[in-house]
Symmetry: C2
Subunit: 589 residues, 2 copies
């Protein structure tokens, strides 16, 4: 495939080239950058609206400041596509063969113009506060700039950072990219303050940033490169903390992403060329049955409430769903700590919260899971989506939720293997009042057995003995139960072993009675889990059998931050294939 | 021992009794409550200044509102002593034999007037937002009140909660207890705004709470019960979110706690009767050698910086120490997320941060440890204090840092067993630039071997083979290495076994070479760790030996929230005694 043709961008190989441009050339450059964004996102997917909106600001930043001496940190760093195009990485956008080489997030391994590998939100102010203090301790002299927006302001770390950095006595610049959106709609009083500031051209009473002590500049035309250059020149080399609040248009230059900003936030490959905001009809899956369950439940019980933190699209909680729920729906914005504390309060107050969250983001609320929720046995339900081994960017891995959640006392973390179990677990969780419950929504298979699940999940840590054999027992957790079934077949066909197959269902505990009963006629127990082994489910089984003659093999991911590694390569690395597992068993039996 | 005598308090058995009092009686009650606080804290230790300051506000709250129908949530809940005295628990303060029955934190198992078991900060607004929404969904009608202060405002969860709750369309009351302090001095722009509000009687420009959209009332005389009653009556039954900002005096009524508010924040038993703010000279310990190390290091390297989050007293980082460090010291306030992000930024900028933190509070920054720090391999040093099994309140356990930290990729978590190792690890960590390092400062022993440690800690996961024996190998991690030594002696004397003794040093990895070498002549390996077993160090060893004939016994704490259980009872429950361990070994060997 060939590189997209450009006229101005083709001559931009580093920020120093940006500094030579005329305003007219910058306008052309803006359009070429937008074409590059659309080109890449259509081919390999990625963030769209945030990057289309930040084009002029990025050009102006590189025109005014002197990267990499001046240090620019993007937050959410999914807004860094234009920055990448101006800092030697344009082929990652223009040339399809180069697309996968360049990540969708800030990455210091790609360029000296990036300073952190960061994909979670609300981090920039704290990180830049550290850079500023290091600079001052070392007697150095440069600008530090946190570019924060697209919903990032609402996360607690951003607030802690703003609170601490507003009192620094040296150069510290925060660019607030106000595109009127989080991933979905903005939530909360802070965003009402931003709205007031927009409506008053930055002059309203009770300016939230000034209340912290920041100096403050407002730029209404946040997609006007001349105005931005003027504003950035004003704050360059400042000797105190200053906020530049710029009002930008999310999705600018691509009408479908402007008229439906939530849809245009992120795109799967190929959607743009279809130029449609509809996904068409979809087959039944965990997302659809969850929505149906919640809608039906709310009809019969007005205390049921669906909660999420700015990512309703992950669970397919679309506008129609949200509208149907009405007051029985809360989006807290990017604020997972609040979401967990709020859920605990809801449960304590007698409501029935169902908090949907991505595995990578539940990490942001460990202390709240432990203290606000588990310590109080608050009967909230947490649905954890997208857990498991994948070829995701290293900033968005789904590997760590099992160690994170399953070692907190009191929480019941469940791993369904099929539709019927999932719905039974979900309904049990919503209706019971004794435990905080999390359910790991399966990622890699949608299985419906057609057999009703009559399990009483209030009997904790009771595994399901699916098939009793001998010699080898297979514990296939959650969506790796299907792999467990295929290992059983492979053991039969290759080694003639009639293995025991177990569906543990409970991640957070050990079925001692069942596991003890295996000791008499089993030599090997294997565990399969779709996450990192360290601190996970399998190690509990290893510990349990530690004082016995039963050997245990744990299968799952290594403790590592994979970065866009092909899934099949990972499954091979971790021996998560039936042939490899049976080879391992054969070697020790 | 006999109950303290009181005249008004003796007739207060529930909030309804408070409602019958005259203002004059409330003044007497205030003094009696203060005597109760001092009585308890002198006998069994606890929080002092925060409770002395909140006496009148608590009386006024119970006079105006109708607990438990109206729901009052304290934050930090260590301010709840007066509340406990007014809600049927006064004997926990007046009667020494009853002191231990009543916890120092909010606890719904004690009283219907408490709604959550909470000891960490910054949780109240989110919890109360959940209560408010549950109330509204169920069509109920009562007041919800979050009382937040004494530093709690600066934590990210509080901000997320304020942002979300300021836009609620129903009753929501936040009482901001502004006593001008966190645990140590307040930090950040928000507290400068509170100062401006105090100086202007609540009338300054850019009111931080109004910027969120809260209605706002200021009460300068926050220890004047009449003024407080007047203010609370104004907001009672409000139909929208309102902040009542009250200015109180931390330590009021006990001069030493007023003149030295940081000292008076919390007290060990017996200190008050000495009536002294000096601890006298102390023997060498991990706290003193750490301070000496940092002071010496800063003298030779101006890029070294000590960081903490509002708890300098925990590390004995007293005023003299802080003054000597000057700009090489940062207290971020109660803001652990920022502290970790800031440390990552410092390290990336070429400085050498040393972040001291309590094990129970590092939980508040899991995502920052993972994303801001470990993913970037930012060479910061984190000193984790007070880890281990203890008789602490369930809200402040030191059991979970090992599972929390040791399962994050890239982080090197070290467990020194003595002074010499600790100082070597600390210096290695500060000087290296490849890894994010945490060090678990030993809690239960101070050991100095006098033997210089020449280990090169850049060779990761290399355990120290202290003594090579056979049959049984003991891995004694960190401060349980001493227990390991005594188990070795016991094995020799009782069973005649010459056991192998290993000091693992690295919590985060397995020394495969050494562990493999044990297989030929060892039947049992035991692991000892001072924390919860689930997700911890020992399970990694169990997993490693899973496919071998070596049996493994893991010793450590169960996965549970203990609540003020005597240490010896816990050690017995967990078999963490040499006799019990040798019994266990004898039973399987």
């Amino acid at each position: 495939m060939t590189t997209m043709e450009t006229t101005v961008l083709e001559n931009i190989n580093s920020p120093s080239d940006v500094k030579k441009l005329t305003i007219e050339q910058m306008h052309i450059l803006s359009e070429e950058i937008r074409k590059g964004i659309l080109n890449r996102v259509d081919k390999i997917g990625g963030h769209l609206g945030p990057d289309l909106g930040i084009v002029e600001a990025t050009i102006a930043l590189h025109y005014v400041f002197n990267s990499p001496v001046d240090k620019l940190v993007f937050d959410v760093s999914h807004q860094c596509y234009p920055h990448k195009m101006l800092t030697g990485r344009k082929e990652g956008f223009l040339n399809p063969t180069e697309h996968p080489e360049i990540s969708g997030y800030s990455n210091q391994n790609e360029s000296e113009h990036d300073h952190f590998m960061i994909g979670h939100t609300s981090t920039s102010v704290s990180l830049v506060a550290g850079l500023a203090k290091a600079r001052d301790l070392k007697g150095e002299n440069y600008n530090v700039i946190a570019l924060i927006g697209d919903g990032s302001l609402s996360g607690g770390e951003a607030f802690e950072g703003l609170n601490n950095s507003s009192v620094l006595n040296s150069n510290f610049i925060v660019i607030v990219n106000d595109n009127e959106m989080s991933i979905a709609q903005n939530q909360g009083g802070l965003y009402k303050n931003l709205q007031l500031l927009r409506e008053t051209n930055g002059q309203c009473e009770n300016n939230w940033f000034k209340a912290f002590g920041f100096d403050y500049i407002y730029v209404e035309e946040g997609n006007n490169v001349e105005k931005l250059i003027e504003a950035f020149n004003k704050v360059k080399d400042t000797d105190h903390p200053v906020v530049v609040h710029i009002h930008t248009l999310k999705g600018k230059g691509y009408e479908p992403a402007v008229s439906n900003k939530e849809w245009g936030h992120w795109s799967m490959p190929g959607l743009l060329s279809q130029n449609s905001s509809s996904n068409g009809t979809v087959p039944e899956c965990y997302e659809t049955i969850t929505k149906d369950y919640i809608l039906n439940k709310v009809k019969e019980d007005k205390s049921v409430i669906a909660v999420n933190a700015a990512t309703p699209g992950v669970f397919w909680w679309d506008e129609e769903f949200r509208n149907k729920l009405g007051k029985n729906y809360t989006d807290v914005g990017i604020a997972e700590q609040h979401a967990v504390g709020y859920s605990s309060g809801l449960a304590t107050g007698g409501a029935k919260p169902i908090f949907g969250v991505m595995t990578s983001f539940i990490q942001r609320a460990y202390d709240q899971l432990s203290q606000d929720l588990a310590l109080n046995n608050s009967p909230a339900t947490i649905l954890v989506y997208w857990g498991g081994i994948s070829s995701a960017d290293c900033t968005h891995l789904g590997l760590f939720d099992i160690p994170l959640i399953c070692n907190i006392p009191n929480i019941v973390y469940l791993a369904p293997t099929c539709k019927e179990e999932y719905l039974k677990m979900l309904d049990w969780s919503v209706e019971q009042t004794d435990y905080s419950v999390a359910i790991r929504v399966p990622t890699c298979n949608y299985v419906s057995t057609g057999i009703e699940d009559n399990t009483d999940y209030s009997i904790l840590n009771k595994y399901s003995l699916v098939s009793r054999g001998s010699k080898v027992a297979i514990l296939g957790l959650g969506d790796l139960f299907e792999l467990g079934k295929s290992v059983k077949e492979e053991l039969k066909s290759r080694l003639g072993i009639d293995a025991t197959l177990i569906n543990p269902k409970f991640i957070t505990g050990v079925d001692e009675e069942l596991l003890n009963s295996l000791k008499s006629d089993h030599d090997v127990v294997i565990t399969l889990e779709n996450g990192t082994l360290d601190g996970g489910f399998g190690e509990k089984i290893s510990r349990f059998y530690g004082n016995s003659n039963v050997k245990v093999l744990n299968y799952g991911a290594d403790k590592e931050f994979n970065d866009r590694v092909p899934l099949d390569e990972l499954l091979t690395r971790y021996h998560l294939k039936k042939e490899m597992i049976v080879d391992d068993i054969a070697s020790i039996i």
